[in-house]
């Protein structure tokens, strides 16, 4: 008795991974950092994450519809959620709600879908969004909070919601009472006004090696990054190159002139370096493909960030560094193709 069978190409084994699994692991790895963030700075970040995610999914759905693509495998691949969460982690926790809306329109609508959707974007969507709102709305984007330990008024969930959705601060003293410069701002303005680094660092907003609170958030991001390394979601080249280049480049400055240059650990544990090293510069779509290319890419991100911090107009330059290196990625790829077997 003969029997007929359906045929299909090899391999005849169920695939090991899905895009959604990759993205979910990234989200899982971000969780400790997010929790630490809300522990040190209040529930504002959680509201921002929810807001950004909602807008990101909305624009993803709209753009998929406009492009005539099916919703199903794309809306639940979590890539838009990753973009949203990374963006939310970059903005001040009490930024008004429409910041997220505009940012996600640019991230999902422009940076992602106008370039061809998932996997086709040249630039990191979260960083495009961040840079758009940073340049367009500098005031809203610099209203940072002090750590709860230093705050006069601890802002609860209700207060945070009111501030984010109305822009009104329901406390005496208004905005000035709730905001404070970030450690990187403090260093930048301090150095520019001729203060010594040792004096600047006497400010209570600094912690043991970075900014108070920030340093532990960075540690959490780092541990999440190690989880991704262990799960092989990211490769070690990019984080090592980012952190390594920041240390190597800031070390001589600090050794020569410790009074006007922060020490290397201060650099790594403040601002977005740690987040960028493990979560942003490791974005495979807009990064390099070969291992050597990734080393160059990461080093570029580290170096440009430091250059902007030291000489540029912004206290932190990670977003610009990532976007500039995104531009260079295809060229780097071209010249770092690995040697093939037998070649």
């Amino acid at each position: 008795m003969t029997r007929k069978f359906q045929t299909s190409g090899a391999p005849h084994m169920p695939p090991q991974a899905r895009v959604a699994t990759v993205m979910l692991q990234v989200l899982l790895a971000l969780l400790p950092g997010v929790l630490a963030y809300s522990w040190f700075f209040g529930p504002g970040i959680l509201i921002q994450i929810i807001l950004a995610t909602a807008f990101a999914l909305l624009f993803e759905a709209i753009m998929l519809r406009l492009r005539g693509r099916p919703l199903k495998p794309f809306i639940n691949d979590y890539s838009a959620v990753v973009t949203a969460v990374l963006f939310a982690l970059c903005i001040p926790p009490l930024a008004p709600w429409w910041i997220s809306c505009i940012a996600m329109l640019f991230a999902i609508g422009f940076a992602k879908h106008l370039y061809g959707g998932l996997g086709q974007n040249v630039f990191n969507p979260a960083m495009v969004a961040y840079v758009v709102v940073l340049i367009s709305f500098p005031q809203a984007m610099t209203a940072w909070l002090p750590p709860l330990a230093l705050a006069e008024h601890g802002l609860g969930l209700a207060d945070s919601l009111v501030i984010i959705f109305t822009g009104e601060v329901p406390l005496a003293g208004g905005w000035d009472a709730v905001t404070q410069a970030t450690p990187l701002d403090t260093i930048k303005t301090g150095v520019e006004s001729g203060l010594l680094m040792s004096d600047i660092r006497h400010s209570p907003i600094f912690g043991i090696f970075g900014g108070l609170g920030w340093e532990w958030i960075a540690c959490c991001f780092m541990s999440g990054g190690f989880f991704l390394l262990y799960r092989r979601v990211i490769s070690w080249q990019v984080p090592l190159a980012v952190i390594g280049s920041v240390i190597l480049l800031s070390l001589p400055f600090w050794l020569i002139d410790p009074d006007s240059n922060p020490f290397p650990l201060q650099h790594i544990f403040s601002g977005a370096i740690m987040l960028a090293a493990f979560f942003i510069a490791t974005d495979p779509v807009s990064g390099c493909v070969s291992n050597r290319g990734r080393l160059i890419f990461g080093a570029g991100v580290g170096i440009i960030t430091l250059v902007i911090r030291r000489w540029g107009g912004y206290p932190d330059g990670v977003a610009f560094a990532v976007l500039l290196m995104n531009m260079a990625a295809p060229l780097i790829d071209r010249y770092t193709r690995p040697r093939m077997y037998g070649e």
Partner: protein
């Protein structure tokens, strides 16, 4: 360090020292088919022997419908390829196109033999003493017995041996690394017939003029090393060693195996013989022993029938031409949820549309997979360039980039990204989170490249023909023009004209003179009337 020295090092260490890039550690699922001893299935009534079994051309049939054939009688011939033989004695019932168990899934010419059950052998022509026989006679024997690489590539063994003989081969590597999951026929063969493998290895070593034999096996093949070593010791032969290598797919690929044993890479576009080595499958070595010592042509092979879709998975020593359905029946039939039938392993095997497909020289495994095994097909997503494919690629390619070039029809960049270096192992496919059928793209790319190469060749020829013709016509035209100008020039040239006139006058005068002379002569001779 030479490759010979590197092999010595590996032999001295007794294990592999190097590794290859990437690869996968897969669940091997081999135990299920190793529970029963290898047996021959009951003799099938009808055997379908495809005439296209080797790398090379389709063999020409040497028999006609209605012919009586004997077991082992040659029924197909293809120079310079290997011969095809009747696996049983019986009557040729048809010669027609049938599914021939080829990766392409195409039908091809097959000789269908109805077995008469007498199992009457043709007169065999063994070589009396292979130790003294000439290498050429041994090579001819391999060709006449239809030997081809039984690991799956079915490259004619005599051709490989001849090529190896012409080059300086120091080591014969016997490949016993069955790195694909499920397949266990080589392991069973090594367990059950180690002596035959060692004998075949010695014959091949003599043919190649190699000094050393290295048999590579997987480190989890328990009793195999002992069996082979004991068989080798019994022959008192030196320089036959067994090396265990770790089980990483696709280590059984000869390029990967050579890298693991020596740390060297076979040059791109080259062969292992460039490094002084020749690889043969262990089953090929056993078949060589049969062919040379007993004169038996290649008409049966070990084959694994396994998978969750089979009631009692096991290994058979099956006649070529036996249908898969016959083997499955001998295994107690299918399980209810069988969904796909694959020849070979789950990574590189090819699916067949019907179990009427026959066993051929390349079939090492019939794998029946259930709905659960293959899972439902996932939708293909865009590449997110995660780089997993590059991490597992044993050829150190960038599959994600290569795939993009092929998709966009950029053939030259595809070549730069190493399309020809791809061994189609399927590792990239297996790990791709976007479920892109990468290997299918690469196969398409390769066939497209072949087509383009043929087209280029044809158009080059046509252009050459056209240009030659043009040149020829031009030459004729020029010659004609030259002749004309010469003529015109001659006509125009006055001196020449006068010369010509003078010449013609002279000629005319001469003629007149001669005329007169003749008339004078005539008159001298006299006119009889005048007399």
């Amino acid at each position: 360090m030479t490759s010979a020295r590197r092999i010595e090092q590996a032999v001295d260490a007794g294990k592999h020292i190097h590794r290859f890039h990437g690869g996968l550690r897969l669940r091997h699922n081999k135990r299920i088919s190793c529970q029963l001893a290898v047996e021959r299935p009951p003799l099938p009534e009808l055997l379908v022997v495809p005439l296209f079994q080797h790398a090379g051309d389709i063999a020409k049939p040497l028999v006609r419908v209605g012919d009586q054939v004997l077991k082992g009688q040659q029924i197909g011939q293809s120079q310079p390829c290997a011969a095809v033989h009747a696996p049983v004695s019986g009557i040729v019932e048809f010669i027609e196109d049938r599914p021939m168990s080829h990766p392409s899934g195409q039908a091809g010419p097959c000789v269908v033999i109805r077995a008469d059950g007498r199992e009457q052998w043709v007169a065999l022509k063994p070589i009396s003493d292979w130790r003294t026989a000439s290498a050429d006679s041994l090579i001819t024997q391999l060709q006449e017995c239809g030997l081809a690489g039984l690991g799956g590539a079915v490259f004619p063994t005599h051709a490989k041996a001849r090529d190896g003989r012409e080059r300086n081969i120091h080591t014969l590597i016997l490949n016993g690394v069955e790195c694909e999951p499920y397949i266990s026929c080589d392991e069973m063969l090594m367990r059950e017939q180690p002596g035959k493998i060692i004998l075949g290895a010695r014959i091949l070593r003599r043919v190649l003029g190699a000094g050393r034999v290295v048999i590579a096996i997987e480190d989890q093949m328990g009793a195999v090393k002992e069996a082979l070593t004991r068989a080798a010791e019994r022959t008192d032969c030196e320089n036959i060693s067994v090396i265990k290598v770790p089980k990483v797919y696709p280590e059984g690929g000869e390029r990967q195996l050579i890298q693991v044993l020596t740390g060297l890479e076979v040059p791109a576009g080259g062969r292992p013989s460039d490094l002084g080595m020749v690889c043969q499958n262990v089953a090929t070595a056993a078949a060589v022993a049969d062919a040379v010592v007993e004169g038996k042509p290649l008409i049966e092979r070990y084959i694994t029938v396994t998978g969750n879709g089979i009631s009692q998975p096991r290994n058979f020593q099956a006649l070529l031409g036996t249908s898969f359905s016959h083997l499955v029946e001998a295994c107690g039939g299918y399980q209810d949820d069988v969904a796909r039938l694959v020849v070979g392993g789950p990574m590189m095997g090819y699916p067949v549309a019907t179990d009427e497909t026959p066993v051929v020289k390349r079939s090492n495994c019939v794998l029946a997979l259930t709905t659960q095994d293959i899972a439902e097909p996932q939708p293909e997503m865009p590449c997110i360039r995660c780089g997993e494919c590059a991490r597992v690629c044993p050829a150190t390619l960038l599959p994600q980039q290569l795939h993009l070039q092929i998709r966009n029809g950029l053939w030259e960049p595809a070549e730069e990204y190493g399309l020809t270096a791809c061994i189609e192992c399927g590792c990239c496919d297996h790990v791709c989170p976007s479920h892109i059928p990468l290997v299918e793209w690469f196969r398409y790319g390769k066939s497209e490249q072949r087509r383009r190469a043929l087209e280029n060749e044809a158009s080059d020829k046509a252009r050459k023909r056209f240009e030659d013709r043009e040149a020829r016509l031009l030459k004729i035209k020029q010659e004609r023009a030259e002749k004309m100008t010469r003529r015109k020039k001659m006509l125009k040239d006055k001196a020449f004209q006068q010369d010509r006139i003078r010449a013609s006058i002279d000629r005319a005068k001469n003629k007149n003179n001669t005329d007169q002379n003749t008339s004078e002569a005539d008159s001298i001779v006299g006119n009889p009337d005048d007399a």
